[in-house]
């Protein structure tokens, strides 16, 4: 297997509130490898730390601990200049297509901005225009859209602009933080297809964040499940969907509705009890235990480590990995 493009080792991020407000551990001891050319999916519930993890990787927020290796270089200790060169190879597509484009800039300027910042082209030059036109075309927008403002576009088109901006520098890694969750279902599919096509054409590597498991199944090669700042399960996509080990993964899979009334009527669902705990006041031991249908006393004592569970490359953090979903349905 090839060297990982991105490697996280023990990454941790704490947010400390001002003046004695309790601290939140948003990302807790995360280690991950992303191989060149693959799509690693990251799922988890709201507030589990997905966005924070992507921002730590992009060094938009400073990690509290750990190491991040990208393309053989350690990111966290880098200075500003060095970081700028890394950024050429690591770009981001953000969630909200309405908020992620500056409403006062023309689409052409938005897409050209990375090129300008990195000195590839000069603002407003013909060369910049033609490069932008190419990029827009590759994401399925008319080259003539350059002179229009974001609000003149629909959500899906805006997300295409966001993707074009991310691709402008021809990065190796694109980090996608919920790129389709703000879009309509009919548009989601367009964007997912586009991203898959671009990956195939350009050999891109994706870190793809979503809370929607059905999208993960379509796009990811491997999926990491995150809960309370930690990776609780990581496996190849099909393996994860067919043979999950962590009760949390099970509950996620079971909760996601399927667009088929026949299936829905026959499905046996795991409905979790209670509410997710507050991040400011996490439970001891395994953080899922308060809602876990199979939790035992041991789960409160210590944190289960991420260990090989079943097939190679499948890891889960549970003292009592689930073998059969029936165990969970009460």
């Amino acid at each position: 297997m090839s060297e990982p493009l991105l490697s996280l080792r023990g990454v941790r991020k704490e947010y400390t509130g001002h003046f004695g407000r309790s601290k939140v551990v948003a990302v807790d001891d995360v280690s991950l490898d992303i191989r060149p050319g693959e799509t690693l999916g990251l799922v988890g519930e709201s507030g589990c730390g997905k966005t924070t993890l992507t921002r730590v990787i992009l060094r938009l927020v400073e990690a509290s601990a750990g190491e991040i290796w990208f393309d053989g270089r350690e990111l966290l200790g880098m200075g500003r200049r060095e970081l700028l060169s890394v950024r050429e190879n690591m770009q981001v597509v953000l969630q909200d297509p309405y908020a992620s484009l500056n409403p006062r800039m023309r689409v052409g300027e938005i897409v050209a901005e990375p090129l300008v910042t990195h000195g590839r082209v000069r603002r407003g030059r013909a060369e910049a225009r033609s490069r932008v036109a190419e990029l827009l075309e590759s994401v399925g927008l008319e080259p003539g859209s350059q002179d229009r403002y974001p609000h003149e576009f629909s959500g899906g088109q805006r997300q295409r602009v966001g993707i074009a901006r991310a691709l402008a520098l021809e990065p190796k890694l694109v980090i996608c933080d919920e790129p389709v969750s703000a879009l309509d279902v009919s548009i989601q599919a367009q964007i997912i297809n586009l991203m898959k096509r671009l990956q195939a054409e350009r050999g891109l590597t994706y870190l793809f964040v979503s809370h929607d498991l059905s999208i993960m199944r379509q796009i990811a090669d491997r999926v990491a499940v995150m809960n309370f700042g930690r990776i609780v399960e990581l496996a190849g996509t099909e393996e994860l969907f067919t043979a999950p080990r962590h009760p949390y993964t099970h509950s996620l899979l079971s909760a996601a509705p399927v667009a088929d009334p026949v299936v829905e009527r026959t499905r046996r669902r795991i409905v979790l009890r209670g509410d997710p705990p507050s991040p400011a006041d996490p439970p001891s031991g395994c953080s899922f235990r308060t809602r876990c249908p199979v939790a035992r006393d041991e789960c409160a004592q210590a944190r289960p480590p991420l260990e090989e569970a079943g097939s190679p490359g499948h890891v889960a953090a549970c003292f009592f990995p689930v073998r059969d979903a029936a165990e969970l349905v009460s």
Binding site: R87, V92, A99
Partner: protein
């Protein structure tokens, strides 16, 4: 924004009238030397306190009457336009530039810069501006420039606060995150992404402030802290005329009407701008 303004205008008749008034005022101000029938400072003591043309005792050639030194009220009101607008605009611009810079920097960087600037703003707000005006004008003598300086210096805080609040919310917006991910530096982000997005609220407070600066000039004139007397201003005419309200009311009334109309027009325009700038509040 431009088309939005036009669209808003089509609908908003008050704003149409308001912009018409502002245009008129600007034209009168610019071309006062051509339009005014007299030198505004030309005195004719034998023609003092003549009433406007429709009253008995009026003097031909002085349609709005004369003041106590026999100067033409119409010409003075026309010339006054220049100074009032100049004071209003320049002071607003000055406070706008200072305030926005402070606001953007403290909102974007936060930390010690924010602390320093916000404490400074507290001091400024807590310090009575009249004293500042007096000190500056007493030391440096009355002049247009210092008047603008004083008004400008006392007005920056409102910009700084609004801009800072605006920037605090903008900086968490995703397009700023995107710009940081691209590698834009702080100054680049402030210039390319933050400033263009606060223009609308700035324009709004700006217009409102122009109006209050015009009124403030009048108040300082009343306290004798205005511009040199050779420069006719609405404010000083209003202040002078206050004494004559019962007899020669026209001295104050025409300048007062000019102030009121202009500030009203500016305020209406400002309201319209705010509605345009905040479509959420508008389409409801």
């Amino acid at each position: 924004m431009g088309t939005a303004i036009l669209r808003a205008l089509r609908r908003n008749h008050a704003a149409k009238v308001a912009i018409g008034i502002i245009a008129l005022v600007v034209v009168v101000g610019l071309f006062a030397p051509l339009l005014a029938p007299h030198d505004p400072n030309l005195q004719n003591l034998s023609l003092k306190l003549r009433p406007p043309f429709w009253l008995d005792g009026s003097e031909p050639g002085y349609p709005l009457g004369t003041d106590k030194l026999g100067r033409d009220v119409l010409s003075r009101v026309m010339y006054g336009t220049r100074v009032s607008l100049l004071v209003g605009l320049a002071a607003t611009l000055l406070s706008g530039v200072v305030g926005s810079a402070v606001g953007v920097v403290s909102g974007y960087y936060r930390g010690w810069r924010e602390q320093v600037f916000m404490r400074l703003a507290d001091v400024q707000l807590a310090f009575p501006s009249i004293l500042l005006a007096l000190a500056i004008i007493a030391v440096l003598g009355p002049s247009l420039f210092f008047l603008i300086l004083v008004l400008g210096l006392t007005g920056w805080v409102s910009y700084a606060r609004v801009v800072r609040a605006e920037v605090l919310s903008l900086r968490t917006r995703e397009f700023v995150t995107a710009a940081r991910a691209i590698g834009d530096t702080g100054p680049q982000i402030m210039r390319r992404h933050l400033l263009p997005n606060i223009v609308a609220p700035l324009a709004t407070i700006g217009t409102l402030q122009v109006a209050s600066m015009i009124v403030a000039e009048a108040s300082l004139s009343y306290l004798g802290l205005g511009v040199p007397p050779s420069i006719p201003t609405w404010g000083s005419m209003l202040a002078d005329g206050q004494l004559y309200l019962r007899g020669a009311w026209w001295i104050a009334v025409f300048s007062g009407a000019a102030i009121m109309m202009t500030t009203l027009a500016i305020n209406v325009t400002g309201d319209m701008l705010r509605d345009v700038a905040d479509p959420k509040a508008y389409n409801r």
